[in-house]
């Protein structure tokens, strides 16, 4: 069993490679598609720049070489984690990303845990007490959660809890001069709730549907006939099995949290990668933009792999062929 699992993982890892190569080609094409090319930032500054300076800049960046050479050089560098220097700060892109990564990871983790704690029990109780008031409320709330524009929800929470009630700070990660745990947690609350909303809505619905379909299965009848208590039957047989697809969905959505973080960080001025991304787009800092996009894509691919492996690991019925 362990052997075939390792085989499965290695096979999936190998499959990741052509995928990442395909993504990198698209990314590279994207860089080239920017009007004005990578030296666009110079051209947009509005000042008249001596064409020879632009030429030497292009030569320095290797832009006058044929495209495929540029691509391979870029790819070789990217694989080692070198995404070039940021246009606006001239610092290595990877350094800037690593600097802000912990903040975003913190937010994503908080949102993930919060969503899991709320959505799963909600989904379970909705399924067990189908058609009850709780079920109805949960379904309605999850519809609302999916339909709500995330940034508007953030603005509304900010309006109510920060501006009007003053319970939580409006933005940022810490208050200057007070880096205590309480302060950090207070800053995390609103952005965390906002980021998690979509997933609470989605996961609770999915948990409910999954548990409902498991509860109808024959083996549940057998378990009850054996004489086990209802609670045991539901929890040990029902929920354990129903959790399997839900967990793999959760792993997949982990990557989506990154996209969501982009908006949430902007609304709450959270000093993470999402906000860095927006700023770099505004300032046309393309090395930084591409670096973050590549990182995001890698996360998506990676978490797809994790989701599949977790699913295969949890469900003993799946063979690894």
């Amino acid at each position: 069993m362990e052997n075939s699992m390792t085989l499965y993982i290695s096979r999936r890892l190998l499959q990741m490679i052509p995928l990442m190569i395909g993504i990198s080609i698209i990314m590279f094409a994207l860089i080239q598609a920017v009007p004005g090319g990578p030296e666009a930032m110079f051209l947009e500054s509005g000042r008249f720049i001596d064409p020879t300076i632009i030429e030497s800049y292009r030569h320095r960046l290797g832009l006058d070489q044929p495209l495929y050479i540029q691509y391979f050089k870029w790819l070789a560098a990217a694989v080692t984690g070198d995404f070039g220097l940021s246009f606006s700060t001239s610092r290595p892109v990877s350094e800037m990303i690593l600097e802000r990564l912990p903040a975003t990871l913190e937010l994503m983790l908080m949102a993930f845990i919060f969503a899991a704690i709320i959505a799963i029990p909600l989904g379970i109780f909705s399924a067990v007490r189908q058609y009850s008031l709780l079920d109805y409320l949960t379904t309605t709330l999850s519809f609302l959660g999916i339909a709500m524009p995330v940034f508007w929800f953030g603005l509304m929470l900010q309006l109510l809890f920060s501006v009007k009630l003053g319970w939580f700070p409006t933005s940022g990660r810490i208050t200057v001069g007070d880096a205590s745990l309480v302060d950090q947690v207070r800053h995390l609350v609103l952005p965390g709730i906002v980021l998690s909303l979509l997933y609470i809505a989605g996961w609770s619905r999915y948990m409910r549907a999954s548990l409902l379909s498991v509860l109808r299965k024959d083996f549940m009848l057998t378990a009850r006939a054996k004489g086990a208590t209802e609670r045991y039957v539901i929890w040990v047989h029902g929920v354990k099995n129903a959790l399997i697809p839900v967990v793999s969905i959760m792993a997949l959505d982990l990557a989506g949290l990154f996209s969501g973080a982009v908006i949430t960080e902007t609304v709450f001025a959270w000093p993470g990668i999402g906000r860095l991304f927006i700023q770099s787009v505004y300032s046309r800092d393309y090395p930084l933009v591409m670096g973050i996009l590549m990182m995001g894509s890698f996360m998506v691919v990676f978490f797809n792999l994790v989701a599949d492996v977790v699913y295969a690991w949890l469900d003993p019925r799946i063979s690894y062929s």
Binding site: I26, L30, F143, I146, W152, Q158, L159, V262, S297
Partner: protein, 303 residues
């Protein structure tokens, strides 16, 4: 959610009067089931009213959408200005109506573009199979793996901010889900016996596609298309909020929220109403999509 009672009644009636039982065509059955979904019916009503109001904005709106009235700036909702005014004295209700025209239009057309493209790719992959399927699915996987919103933000930043471009950009980044669903449906239909039989008789490929395969994928496509309108509306609002979508002075629900963050404390109505419009619209669309799904695919009912 009161499906259970009505289902039983239907059963009893059918058992008692077999001779009188009507032969119901699929479309009749569809409408019967759809009518039972109360939320979807309410949603259609609300959505129609909203769309109506937005469409007839030039007639209904009490003011011009860019009518500046510097004596009445920053008013909270009053009888004269149903939703208040902004910092230039423009009536918010009017702007919400006009913004709705833009946002709804973008949403619908972007969903159309995405669905069309997705159906094309999915159909080709599903129908031709083997190598073409392989290549197209690899392509779809790659497209799926790039985080959509960040990519959208980047592409919007260097394209012209005109409406058709925005529609195209949003649409071209939403086709993947439709493609997968269409491909899956086609693959499962292809294996069914009546298709193999048709092939054996010698029915031409084109005819098989149009008469047998397409009508069955139709349901999946329609549900997907409906839901993606909601997604497109939200995407447009996010882009406009970030300043990358519809540009002022053309109002859209998204760009009305653009500067609202700074004015939120003193003029909350400027933030509340446009966002509420988006919320209600997308909510209705989702309910309708849910109703459609319930009505179209009976195997999914009672989930």
């Amino acid at each position: 959610m009161t499906l259970n009672e009505t289902d039983n009644t239907l059963e009893r009636r059918e058992t008692f009067s077999l001779e009188q039982s009507q032969v119901m065509s699929p479309s009749v059955m569809f409408w019967r089931q759809f009518r039972r979904h109360k939320a979807a019916l309410v949603a259609i009503l609300v959505l129609t009213i909203m769309a109506f109001m937005c469409f007839f904005a030039p007639v209904i709106a009490p003011y011009e959408f860019d009518a500046i009235d510097l004596r009445n700036t920053k008013q909270p909702p009053t009888l004269k200005h149903l939703m208040g005014t902004d910092e230039l004295g423009r009536d918010l209700f009017t702007r919400v109506l006009y913004g709705g025209r833009i946002s709804l239009t973008i949403g619908i057309f972007a969903a159309l573009v995405g669905t069309l493209f997705g159906t094309l790719i999915g159909a080709m992959a599903g129908f031709y199979g083997k190598q073409i399927d392989n290549i197209l699915m690899r392509f779809t996987d790659i497209a799926f793996s790039i985080p959509t919103l960040p990519l959208l933000i980047v592409v919007s930043s260097f394209t012209k901010a005109s409406l058709p471009v925005i529609v195209l950009v949003i649409g071209l980044l939403s086709w993947m889900a439709t493609a997968r669903v269409v491909r899956g449906t086609i693959l499962s239909i292809k294996e069914q016996e009546y298709i193999i039989a048709a092939r054996m008789i010698g029915v031409r490929n084109g005819r098989i596609i149009f008469r047998h395969i397409l009508p069955n994928t139709f349901s999946a496509i329609v549900v997907g298309a409906t839901l993606s309108v909601g997604g497109a509306i939200i995407t447009e609002s996010v882009l406009s909020f970030l300043g990358l979508g519809v540009q002022p002075p053309v109002p859209s629900w998204g760009n009305m929220l653009q500067d609202s963050q700074t004015t939120m404390a003193s003029k909350p109505w400027l933030t509340i109403f446009p966002g509420l419009a988006i919320l209600i619209t997308v909510l209705c669309i989702n309910f309708i999509g849910d109703g459609l799904q319930d009505a179209i695919d009976p195997t999914l009912r009672g989930k």
